[in-house]
């Protein structure tokens, strides 16, 4: 199997604080990979490093063989990294459909002038965008709410819309930051199925941060456990979760 994401010796310091140190990770194409660890372990910081929100102090990040270390967020997204956020960040003032169409931004193009003058190319491209966006919404059972303002969706559906929007950018790898946060067991179960479905049908590599151990044990094939910004343990899910060091980190001495 080919490697999709390769992280070597990744580290960042904020002032004197070493938030992430010497992290190595290798995620194979098509894998469902989990990043877990106690609060403050540096999980979201790693996501921010992978997506260019922060520039790493040291280390290398390679996506599908291409070096994306320290590139701006936009370029990293164009290279094929899409993400969701721990505290949902939707475009609240536009419709559900437009949220997804915004995600399609770099894949369907016409000029500004064509947009203002409503030329045939505008109509054609907009129609294609509508179709593609509706397809994605159907996957997440959001097609009936396409005309709703994103702000008016219930919480669970907002999480799903965020995933749909990220997928619209046609990424190679999808980063999900606590996708099950705030969900009830039923919704979590449904989410697990959706994540599986996305992996299988979009041929996607998925890296997720999660606290819900049921979800992690249920869908992740491999795990990295972080503690105090460093890798505590890495490997197959079952092995990692039975590792006494991991149990100590989670439950305390």
């Amino acid at each position: 199997m080919a490697t999709m994401l390769e992280v070597k010796n990744l580290g960042i310091s904020f002032g004197g604080l070493r938030a992430v140190n010497a992290v190595d990770m290798e995620i194979e194409k098509g894998m469902l990979y989990g990043l877990i660890g106690p609060n403050g372990a540096g999980k979201t910081t790693i996501f921010n490093l992978l997506t260019g929100v922060y520039k790493p102090t040291d280390g290398i990040i390679k996506l599908d063989g291409e070096d994306i270390t320290g590139k701006p967020t936009i370029e990293i997204n164009k290279a094929g990294v899409a993400r969701t956020f721990q505290n949902i960040r939707l475009f609240a003032g536009i419709s559900v459909l437009d949220n997804v169409k915004a995600g399609l931004h770099n894949h369907y193009k016409y000029s500004t002038l064509a947009g203002i003058c409503r030329t045939p190319s505008y109509r054609k491209v907009e129609k294609e965008m509508d179709e593609r966006a509706m397809e994605l919404l159907k996957v997440f059972e959001l097609d009936k709410e396409a005309d709703y303002l994103a702000a008016n969706l219930p919480y669970g559906k907002q999480r799903k819309l965020e995933i749909a929007r990220a997928l619209a950018t046609d990424p190679k790898i999808l980063l999900l930051d606590e996708p099950a946060a705030g969900m009830n067991p039923n919704e979590t179960q449904e989410l697990m199925e959706t994540i599986h479905f996305v992996r299988d049908n979009f041929d996607m590599t998925i890296l997720l941060i999660e606290h819900d151990m049921k979800l992690v044990a249920g869908i992740c094939e491999e795990l990295t456990v972080l503690n105090f910004g460093e890798v505590l343990c890495q490997g197959k899910t079952a092995d990692v979760l039975s590792n006494p060091q991991v149990i100590t980190a989670y439950l305390g001495e």
Binding site: T44, N48, V53, F85
Partner: protein, 294 residues
Amino acid sequence: MSFLSYLINGISLGSVYAIIALGYTMVYGIAKMLNFAHGDVIMVGGYAAFTCIMSAGMPPLAAVLVAVVVCTVIGVLIETIAYRPLLEAASSLAVLITAIGVSYFLQNVVLLIFGSNPKSFQSVVTIPDLKLANGTLNISGVTIVTISSCIVIMLALTTFISRTKAGQAMLAVSEDKGAAQLMGINVNKTIALTFAIGSGLAAIAGVLLCSAYPSLSPYTGSMPGIKAFVAAVFGGIGSIPGAFLGGLLLGVIEIFGKAYVSSQLSDAIVFAVLIVVLLVKPTGLLGKKIQEKV
């Protein structure tokens, strides 16, 4: 000698800016909002003192005291009625537009009461001018009073913040509102206190400004207000020594600009300073950087 007298004039004007800027910077530091109406509180202070002296025949010092009380009350009222409901609002634009509304409100209320004709303000300063270097360098009484009040206010405020409980509460609220509340600090009260102090200082600034430039109209406060905000940003918004430093520098820059470049372009120069500062060092001379959390 003219250089020296420009410099002194600059420091004097700068002292006024500094006093106004203190109000901006304290409010920004604690409520995280740009109180656009702050400049107009200065004008209200000017009118309050004017009325006391001209209509009620009060002695200058009493008039200043009345002006301070009036502005303090107005400041607290503005905060409670207009700003507090929006403190937790989702849009920072809403607060800013409200502040612009308050600024217009004050201007137009004064306009309706006193009319648009500028009033000639009688200086509250009775100290004689100081003549130095065989009379070639003349330092006016107003200048002396302005500069010394600025220094006194600055020292008093620093002491207040570092030595009193209320001052420490202000620091805590500016650092983290939520945490301060959990520590038992009454956030609303602290913010109101900040507005009270800022507005009281604005009254003093208003009286000093009008004593130096004795023409008072409903729009007197808006330009110095904006410039003082420039000073606050220049020094680093949220920082009290920054407001002091920024105010003095800006006053000197303005007077030198007027004297050596062009009297019509002096405002443009002041604003150019703001733009350069914001683009080169957006946190100002003494400010600290804040990063948005993702």
